[in-house]
């Protein structure tokens, strides 16, 4: 099933598949907390709204860029699949783009318009975040079932469409625990606990439903010896949920000052979930229909991007870390001065 991985035609497409996976994962985690904060925006006072936005303001632009890299890698490394995938996902992609547009411009419009119009842009910020999150969930769901057109396939997609926003809300609220103080931070702890149950439920449902859709996926998981080294994943995920719950309770009661634990644990949950999905899908780009090798661009073109990527990607990571260092610590009011 796997081609010869010692040849460039073998390992280059694999490299890009992994790179694309990392780009999508980075996007989901990074813009996940932006979107999560957006989903929570209307639940608090106006002053707190500004602090929430201040916590994500310096980062959202760069965070969003990871999705461009992800779809960009799909475009450049797997051109034969790119058109098929985006055609199948036409409606959710359009919805997501409009959601991202509204969310992105609301960042700026909300603080530049007359004060009477600010609530409108706050609402559009929330709406954009909601539409984008639901659309992304639907896209992931459709991808997992290989674009199966039956009713169940669509219902599964809708399920993921609800679970992903729940997960983003968890990410967003734990980010706020890390980056804010006082009343807002306390509120965030409350939000985190609620979204925790929703997310845990979602992850559980998706994990059960996924193998149901494909005999191939089923046999990758529920087969000796695979199941022996795979079962730690759901166990670990479950444990992490407990860690999140416990650490937030500890923060609430004052027995812990480790504000980073919830967020880091949620990120780890996302990583594990992502690995689970990636493992289920591999080696397909379009499940059951096109493998990553079938979809790949010419080896020569992949080489051209490859050499650029291995120089540039570490650079991007370095200056991204630099920018997080500049904005380390609690969120402060955003000012251009």
């Amino acid at each position: 099933m796997l081609p010869d991985l010692t040849t460039p035609a073998g390992w280059l497409p694999l490299f890009f598949f992994v790179a694309m996976g990392i780009a999508v994962l980075s996007y989901v985690v990074l813009d996940g907390y932006d979107l999560g904060v957006g989903l929570l925006l209307n639940r608090t006072s106006d002053h707190n709204k500004d602090m929430m936005i201040a916590s994500i303001g310096p980062f959202w632009d760069a965070n969003e860029t990871w999705i461009v890299l992800g779809v960009g890698l799909l475009l450049v490394a797997f051109p034969l699949a790119h058109g098929l995938v985006l055609t199948e996902l036409y409606i959710p992609v359009t919805a997501m783009l409009i959601g991202l547009i509204l969310r992105g411009v609301s960042f700026d419009f909300r603080v530049k318009v007359d004060i009477s119009q600010k609530p409108l842009w706050n609402f559009l910020f929330y709406l954009g975040s909601l539409v984008a999150s639901v659309a992304q969930g639907v896209m992931i769901g459709r991808l997992i079932v290989g674009f199966e057109s039956g009713l169940l396939g669509w219902m599964f997609a809708l399920l993921v469409g609800i679970c992903l926003p729940a997960g983003y809300t968890l990410l967003g609220s734990t980010w706020l625990i890390l980056k804010t103080e006082g009343e807002l931070q306390k509120q965030a702890m409350g939000w985190a606990k609620i979204s925790l149950w929703l997310t845990a439920g979602g992850v559980g449902l998706v994990s059960i439903a996924t193998p149901y859709f494909s005999a191939e996926i089923m046999s990758k998981w529920f087969v000796i010896p695979n199941i022996l080294w795979l079962f730690p994943i759901p166990i670990l995920t479950g444990a992490l949920f407990l860690v999140v719950l416990k650490s937030i309770s500890a923060l609430q009661s004052g027995t812990s000052r480790k504000e980073w634990v919830p967020f880091v644990s949620v990120v780890a949950i996302f990583w594990l979930s992502f690995f689970g999905i990636a493992y289920s899908i591999f080696p397909y780009v379009i499940v059951g229909k096109m493998t990553l090798w079938q979809a790949a661009a010419a080896t020569e073109s992949l080489y051209v991007i490859f050499w650029g990527a291995i120089v540039v990607l570490p650079t991007i990571l370095i200056y991204t870390l630099y920018s997080y260092r500049v904005f380390w610590g609690k969120a402060r009011e955003l000012s251009y001065q």
């Binding site: 960009g72 890698l73 036409y90 530049k112 051209v304 955003l334």
Partner: protein, 454 residues
């Protein structure tokens, strides 16, 4: 015929028209901001600080709109034009990849530091961030135009089994039309911003603002426009000659020349008619087109009839070209006249200030007209001689494409109106705070709008 092809073309056109409005401003405005910042660093004069503080707000808003519409563009290729990547993916892929990797990430990451990090990093690092953002946007333009130019004048590749494969990346990137198109676009960006700067400064001037900083920006903007407009006209002419050589059908459409031959007349007025393959109500000057295209009154110029049905829609290209040139000439007049009127620190006449306000977004009209000339002029090809637009389009049902098109249009019209309104609103607000007896919004109203309260 309203079909998926036409709707997809309109949708792509709408998406990219909306998108281009904003990087056109961001590119040059980033460099102007760098200039303002450096002037402030050098002189310590707080007026430069004020100028920077105002224009950075416009920049942030513009940049955000450019980014979100740019993200939409990266998906458009796949959603509506799957045939494009299938056929030319090996060329387009790496170029787009480099655009994202070397430019998009750079500008997006340092934007955060540039906008919000002024107090958190040293002055040096902050200035460097501004440079990196401006550089990133310029680098983005380089990669995108390299790819777009290749679609117009492709070279350095071979076709194998109906797919393009790269042979020579230097030839691909530095294809025949690329240098002209890149320079023409860069200068268009600077001209657009010059008139944006001039227009908004003139708007403040009309409302009574006589601050030295405002006058300085007005003068800077008009000086910049005065120098760049003639350069752009010359460059446009050279670009036209390049188009004559490599895309003669497009050139013929621009000029409205149906019958080629020797000593071809220049069409001044006319309405191109695709059915009769002639221009209605044509008024033309004999031999003039041959003269300015070949520098020989009897020079040979190809006409649209030499290309059979492989010609673009003529009327849109013909009129867009005239609009673009018209805007260019208007800019030439306005910049020279306006700058002359400001000599020696003189007052700007009110009628001139009003004219400049009306020209605030003239750059946008010129840029859109120019892009319509070049992109519509390339039809029926998506990649000249390699792939037609019709071959690349999606097979999705018309209804789906129509829905997405309407959704995009609704969002874009709304955002465009909001943008223009906010730009003028911010301009009014600066004066309301800086002019002692003008009406001022209650302090508490802007208290919860931290970024607005400058």
């Amino acid at each position: 015929m309203i079909d998926t092809l036409l709707l997809s073309r309109i949708q792509f056109g709408a998406n990219i028209s909306f998108h281009i409005l904003f990087p056109t401003i961001s590119i040059a405005l980033g460099w102007f901001l760098l200039y303002f910042k450096i002037q402030h660093n050098k002189t310590g004069d707080s007026s430069w600080q004020d100028v920077y503080q105002f224009w950075v707000k416009i920049f942030a808003l513009t940049f955000a709109l450019g980014v979100v519409s740019g993200i939409t563009m990266s998906f458009q290729f796949g959603t509506n034009w799957p045939g494009y990547m299938e056929v030319v993916g090996n060329i387009a892929g790496p170029l787009l990849a480099y655009e994202v990797l070397t430019a998009f990430f750079l500008e997006a990451t340092f934007l955060g530091v540039m906008l919000f990090g002024a107090k958190r990093v040293s002055q040096r690092v902050h200035t460097l961030s501004i440079f990196l953002v401006a550089f990133g946007t310029t680098l983005s333009a380089f990669w995108i135009i390299a790819l777009n130019s290749w679609m117009h004048t492709p070279q350095g590749f071979s076709m194998v089994d109906g797919r393009a494969f790269a042979d020579d990346w230097f030839a691909i990137i530095f294809n025949p039309s690329m240098p002209y198109r890149l320079l023409h676009m860069m200068i268009a960006s600077f001209l657009t911003v010059s008139f944006l700067l001039a227009g908004l400064s003139a708007y403040r001037y009309l409302r009574g603002c006589r601050a030295a900083a405002n006058y300085a920006v007005l003068k800077l903007a008009l000086t910049s426009a005065m120098i760049l407009t003639p350069v752009q006209i010359v460059l446009g002419d050279l670009h036209g000659l390049n188009t004559l050589e490599y895309q003669p059908a497009k050139l013929a459409a621009m000029e409205g020349i149906w019958e080629g031959g020797k000593g071809v007349p220049a069409v001044i007025i006319g309405i191109p008619d695709a059915k009769t393959r002639s221009n209605a109500y044509e008024v033309s000057i004999p031999k003039l087109a041959s003269f300015y295209l070949t520098h020989d009154w009897n020079g040979e110029v190809k006409g649209l009839n030499d290309f059979g049905d492989k010609i673009p829609p003529v009327a849109p290209v013909f009129f867009a070209f005239r609009i673009m040139v018209g805007i260019g000439l208007l800019m030439l007049l306005a910049s020279w006249l306006g700058r002359w009127q400001l000599r020696g620190g003189r007052e700007l006449p009110r009628w001139m200030a009003k004219g400049l306000v009306l020209m605030t977004f003239s750059g946008w009209i010129g840029v859109l007209a120019g892009w319509y000339v070049t992109e519509i002029g390339r039809q029926p090809y998506l990649v000249t001689g390699v792939l037609t637009t019709a071959q690349a389009v999606t097979k999705l049902p018309t209804g789906m494409v129509l829905s997405s098109l309407l959704a995009y249009l609704a969002v874009y019209v709304g955002l465009l109106l909001a943008y223009i309104w906010v730009v003028f609103y911010l301009t009014r607000k600066v004066d309301d705070k800086s002019m002692p007896k003008a009406s001022v919004a209650p302090a508490s109203a802007s208290a919860t709008n931290p970024l607005g309260a400058q």
